[in-house]
């Protein structure tokens, strides 16, 4: 395509994609400089949803910040809740009851499935197939029902607390979760039959925007995007936290099965496969969950010791790191959230050079970015 563009030079055009655009997953703005249909340069312009979450963190107490972590990444609110709780617990050295940790893992992995379902659904919708989106939401609604049972909300849960979780699981929750897993497990092959190996779909994704493993590490890609490039790095395995060492699961990596290693298709398949692994983890957690309290003793006026801590958790979009500085008062002194989507956008300009405009949409979808996390 590049050769053709050189043979037929046309005038360069500046195209604004976003901030209001259906396939930018929110309010991302991409400034495209194109030569005909070929992208010469695509510069992301972020910040249209900058809500000052870090400044707010300095003005509220540790417990009050929990609802804001919901809104940091609303597709994986449980994971963000838990990441915040784990960070503060690491800072203050709070021992969390084991049952609470198991509950956290169950809800985090369920939320990971829900998040990957949105990634799968909206990505395929971007690629022109609207039906899988309806399938994905159908399953996601059942996870929403489960979460509604335990905390009363569908999207922003505020369920995890510093020192545990806000309430024990409701009656029959584990049975209902099991029923859901039995229902969901055969759905993943169904998705694969429906779209994953569809010829048009594969052609749209294979060999598009391949990221080499070196680039992926250097540009700070994490999570499924890093593993899509064939780097088997998963914080749940490599830097285990919570009760993740208790579970047996595989780290899914891209293999370049339909094209180059690290292309859009690999990143897509990693997410599909991770849903299966999450199902495995939840099944094991349901088997092993102990009885006991779900909340540690945490004083009402919670003042952690002076110190600085960096904690990172494996969220659906990658490594959510929280750098927390405490000066011993009730408010955090400084709170920096290292959001995976934000760092991922750094590589965007590099890998979109020379692609077609339609492929830019594929790249955005395959990275599974989410805007509140980019802009915070």
């Amino acid at each position: 395509m590049k050769a053709r563009a050189e043979a037929l030079p046309t005038q360069e055009m500046l195209i604004n994609m976003g901030p209001q655009h259906p396939s930018t997953h929110g309010v991302l703005r991409v400034i495209l400089r194109t030569d005909g249909e070929v992208v010469v340069n695509a510069r992301p312009d972020v910040g249209y949803l900058h809500r000052a979450l870090e400044k707010i963190g300095e003005r509220v107490t540790y417990a009050q910040y929990m609802p804001f972590t919901d809104r940091l990444d609303y597709l994986a609110a449980m994971n963000c809740n838990a990441a915040w709780a784990w960070t503060v617990e690491k800072l203050a050295g709070i021992e969390v009851p084991e049952r609470a940790e198991y509950i956290r893992v169950i809800v985090c992995e369920l939320n990971r499935i829900a998040s990957h379902l949105i990634a799968f659904g909206s990505f395929t919708a971007d690629m022109g197939a609207f039906t899988p989106f309806l399938y994905a939401i159908r399953e996601r609604e059942r996870i929403n029902d489960l979460f509604e049972d335990i905390c009363g909300n569908r999207l922003t849960y505020n369920y995890v607390r510093i020192g545990g979780v806000s309430a024990d699981l409701p009656d029959r929750f584990l049975e209902k979760t099991k029923e859901f897993l039995d229902y969901f497990a055969p759905k993943v092959p169904e998705y694969n039959n429906l779209i994953s190996y569809n010829k048009i779909f594969v052609h749209r994704l294979a060999n598009v925007a391949a990221v080499t493993p070196e680039d992926a590490v250097g540009y700070g890609l994490t999570g499924p995007n890093l593993r899509g490039s064939g780097v088997p790095f998963d914080l749940r395995k490599n830097e285990p936290y919570s009760v993740y060492p208790e579970f047996d699961f595989d780290v899914c990596v891209g293999t370049g099965e339909r094209g180059t290693l690290g292309d859009c298709f690999d990143r897509y398949m990693v997410r599909i496969n991770e849903m299966k692994e999450s199902v495995r983890i939840v099944r094991q957690a349901i088997e092993q969950i102990p009885e006991g309290p779900v909340m540690a003793k945490v004083p009402r006026m919670f003042k952690p010791p002076v110190g600085e801590v960096y904690f990172r958790a494996e969220n659906p979009r990658g490594e959510t790191g929280i750098y927390l500085i405490s000066d011993g008062t009730v408010n955090p002194y400084r709170l920096k959230i290292r959001a995976p989507s934000f760092v991922t956008m750094g590589i965007f300009e590099k890998i979109t050079k020379g692609l077609m405009i339609a492929d830019v949409v594929a790249v955005i979808g395959s990275f599974d970015i989410i805007l509140p996390e980019i802009d915070r």
């Binding site: 901030p19 809500r51 609303y74 597709l75 399938y135 929403n144």
Partner: protein
């Protein structure tokens, strides 16, 4: 509904007292007719900025099926009648919201979905860059509370908007 009477086949069997199978006549108020058209095809602009956008998506998808009310999402403001502001509006975004609203053809309606669009929501007090309510920028017809509102609440908002449209007088003398 849209079939041309001249081309349609034989209609339903004439019941006693009706005008017969050929006659397709409805007599009514023009206002009512226009409003009925408008309220039943509320094409909304997919303007999802934050959390509420996901509930908006889910409201339009399998379980809640917003299409029942004639509300179909559009990607461009040029084809939309209704703007559902779903999510936080920041100062950087403000001028774009106004522009999108101006690009929509008349008559146009706005639903402010969720606390952020209503008032700034949880970001009201401590955030330096969140617009404290989308009504500072554009006129709003219906406010849907919640953070985020459930899809049922959004559907309720749309039905409320339909009631507003029903009351509109299209032929009133201009003041």
């Amino acid at each position: 509904m849209s079939q041309d009477p001249a081309q349609s086949g034989p209609g339903p069997a004439a019941s006693p007292g009706s005008l017969g199978p050929e006659a397709h006549v409805m007599v009514g108020n023009a206002d009512k007719f226009i409003n009925w058209c408008r309220r039943s095809s509320l094409w909304y602009l997919l303007f999802a900025t934050a959390c509420c956008g996901i509930e908006l998506m889910q409201a339009g998808a399998s379980r809640y099926d917003l299409d029942r009310f004639g509300a179909v999402f559009r990607a461009t403001p040029r084809q939309s009648d209704l703007m559902i502001v779903a999510g936080t509006i920041t100062h950087k975004m403000a001028s774009r919201v106004i522009r999108l609203y101006e690009q929509m053809p008349e008559p146009k309606y706005v639903i402010s979905m969720g606390s952020c669009a209503n008032t700034g929501g949880p970001f009201y007090k401590d955030s330096y860059c969140v617009v404290k309510g989308v009504d500072l920028l554009i006129p709003v017809d219906v406010y849907v509370p919640g953070c985020p509102p459930r899809p049922e609440a959004l559907i309720d908002g749309i039905i409320k908007l339909q009631k507003i449209i029903d009351q509109k007088k299209n032929f009133a003398a201009k003041a």
